[in-house]
Symmetry: C2
Subunit: 471 residues, 2 copies
């Protein structure tokens, strides 16, 4: 992997990306990196994150920069650091040094961009200040990234085609993010039996990322209340009998993400009820991965997860009926209400700034079915795509206590039997999977999924120095 | 301290704050909390931080909420969570529960705010989306927070008067933030001798904050290149002979900040040259703290630091001349180019969103002197203020290699002698200090400053479990 980290590989990769862009979209395009946003006052900013589309073609997280792409050529627009900046932020590379590092054909101050902006396509960035500047320089209305018009929409389509299929450098970066995330999850597991609160485990996980100069790619979910799907806070104390759900992934300095979830017992041992459900979720996870290959519809992978979970819950006596029929009625979604996964790349939900343009094949849209509406990806798989596989089981009060749903699924659910699994609030198992020519590769295979191995990792309880914890 | 954490204390404190506001500013005011900002796509947001002015009067970090203050009354405007939100984010308190928790007199949906906004004063928040909504609802142009007009400027003045002098609840929160930050710095010191990179120490420091559910109040500076004053990255390997500068502070969940810096030897032992300069900086730190009491000008505290550093450098043979004269010529600023500190509160540079309105007494402005222009606070001190005291010594190439400066200070600097201190790149010692009726209290006194004690803490190298590290 070190070979692709050579600057030459970056230059070559970026050239190849823009040449492929030129084939799909021959018109000129300008992509902005965006600027940092003030948190509570202007000088106290959130850590800067460059726009993913910019990162894909510029390779470096430059702040307040823009690139113009046309016919395979790259023009870089950015200002040199001011002398005062050297006092506060140190010496930084010059524009020409950066231009050389990314193989730009030309480099100009930002003020020159106005002479090159007319008639170009673009994609709106996230920060509102830069969006205003985009609109001003292009001298036209700019729609949000999820609703581009005309040329901008064509550019978005071309970028989706490129970014969906990862090149060698992209995969090397994703593997780096996954490698650190695997170490982070193992540190979280090792911390579990001695940790007193969810936040202690979150600290153990994120410390590994910080030690590698990688921020979390998204807000970590580290919770004993796994049934709250996007639970951003970790206030609870841990007790024997709790299951800890940890959904956390690192982001490399050039923006590539990992996205991994494991669920493990605080005590180091699953209760029998927890183990039974865990194995149902794991069976769904394994069945999805076994089915992944080029041309398979991802929606079908989702339905495999749904049917496997339904079948497992029938075996446990929680659901009643034929698994295929239950899934057609969305009964699985009582316990597995979200989609089985999504694209992964520079964004943890890759290209979600473009709405469903990347996730849904042309002409397709969201289902209104309870069991399908949250599916983020509905396309035939292609070699070079990276997707997450993340089935789960949850007891969400807002779903299971809903009188209409209880009535509708009255005969399909054995509520008394379900009550015997009340110690299972939420379980999810998530891996990152590369579609290959012949099937797939689980990129995160170094992080075990089997319940026995999970128990072993949570029982390690190795005494470590701070350094070891952060390694 | 636990007594002030009772909900009743929050309600009473908030009532007292708005009654005092009504005395200073009798007109109605509306303060917005702001919304979260997308990082690389809208659903992947930066962690939400409510506006500090909102937090001061509303007490809770509510997202997309507003409060209206008039004559000591509090009206809360916020929407209830949607049913879908319960699936993704769990059950959240209702508007009326929140209204009760903060002692609101009335509570309404956000759509009602338009009926209450006319003629009110406000302060612009940081996020651009909310600023647009503020302007729209008030039906007028809204200047940035550092340039308010008319009623808004009067409101800002009243808020500065209130927020500058901390009440009991504010002080309890600041003490909480400092307590966690002291533990974090100690963990960083304990990690130093076994850490391989700056990032490993940063991880040890921030893990303690995360374990306490407190984010960093600002981007931590953890670097062996302390001469880069706001060095946000930590890529360097550590080597014996390096000094590690760590400037890091936690923020409580309701927004109150700590701000602490220590500088320590990677090897566990200062070199003689490093120890000599360290003791000069510490002498400046101690002299400032000894001089703090009500009515003393903070600018005078800065000059005490400057003169103490100048005197110490004369004693070491680095500067030549009389310390008072040297400071009048700004010779100290060759090595100590920043101000000695700033206000601390809900913001690490408290109320810096208002520009210098909080930091500078009315009628005063920034000096154009090299040795004073970066001073953030120029007011007489009052009991109840919390300020940082953070003198430093740096060898900044952009300053010391500048031909004009080398010429101007030709006779005041012994450049040959200075070369013997080349292993001292940057040293800063920073504490948080409460001005009391009779003098001051160093709120961060639990974190030692003496070089011998610093060496002991970096030599601890205790083998700890992950839990202990995070405690």
């Amino acid at each position: 992997m070190q070979t692709v980290d050579r600057p030459l590989a970056l230059v070559e990769t970026l050239r190849s990306r823009r040449q492929r862009l030129a084939q799909l979209f021959p018109q000129p395009a300008v992509l902005w990196s965006g600027g940092s946003s003030g948190r509570n006052f202007p000088a106290n900013t959130y850590p800067f994150r460059a726009s993913s589309h910019f990162l894909y073609f510029a390779g470096l997280p430059l702040e307040d920069a823009a690139i113009r792409l046309e016919a395979g050529k790259l023009q870089l627009f950015m200002d040199e650091a001011t002398p005062a900046s050297a006092l506060w932020h140190g010496e930084t590379p010059s524009r020409s040094e950066i231009a050389a590092a990314i193989g730009a054909d030309d480099a100009y101050p930002l003020s020159e961009l106005k002479n090159w902006a007319e008639g170009t396509a673009t994609i709106a960035v996230q920060d509102a200040q830069t969006r205003l500047r985009q609109s001003h320089l292009l001298n036209r209305m700019l729609m949000p990234a999820n609703a581009p018009q005309d040329l901008d929409a064509e550019l978005a389509n071309a970028i989706v085609a490129l970014r969906s299929i990862h090149d060698e450098l992209a995969l090397a970066e994703i593997r780096r993010a996954i490698s650190v995330s695997v170490a982070a999850h193992k540190a979280g597991m090792a911390a579990t039996r001695t940790a007193k609160t969810e936040a202690h485990i979150r600290a153990a996980i994120e410390a590994v990322m910080i030690a590698h100069e990688m921020p979390p790619a998204y807000t970590s979910i580290v919770t004993i209340r796994g049934e709250v799907l996007h639970n951003a806070h970790s206030p609870h104390s841990l007790h024997s009998g709790d299951l800890l759900l940890a959904d956390a992934g690192a982001e490399t300095p050039t923006g590539w993400a990992a996205d991994l979830t494991r669920t493990y017992p605080v005590s180091g041992r699953f209760l029998a009820s927890q183990r039974a459900i865990y194995d149902v979720v794991l069976a769904a996870h394994d069945a999805c991965i076994a089915a992944i290959q080029p041309e398979v519809e991802y929606r079908e992978i989702h339905l495999i997860a749904a049917r496997t979970i339904a079948a497992g819950l029938v075996d446990l006596g929680i659901l009643r009926g034929n698994p295929t029929d239950l899934v057609e009625q969305d009964a699985h979604a009582l316990f597995f209400p979200h989609g089985v996964g999504h694209l992964l790349g520079l964004d943890v939900h890759d290209m979600e700034d473009l709405g469903d343009r990347a996730g849904y094949a042309e002409g397709r849209g969201r289902s209104d079915r309870f069991g399908l509406c949250y599916l983020r990806l509905d396309r035939p798989l292609k070699a070079g795509m990276v997707v997450t596989i993340e089935p789960g089981f949850y007891q969400v009060p807002a779903i299971l206590q809903d009188p209409q749903r209880r009535d509708r699924y009255r005969d399909m659910v054995n509520w008394e039997r379900l009550a015997e699994f009340s110690d299972v609030r939420g379980i999810r198992i998530e891996d990152d999977v590369l579609v290959t020519d012949t099937g797939c590769e689980v990129l995160s295979a170094d992080l075990p999924t089997h319940a026995d191995e999970i128990e072993q990792l949570t029982q390690m309880q190795v005494r470590r120095t701070s350094r070891d914890t952060s390694d």
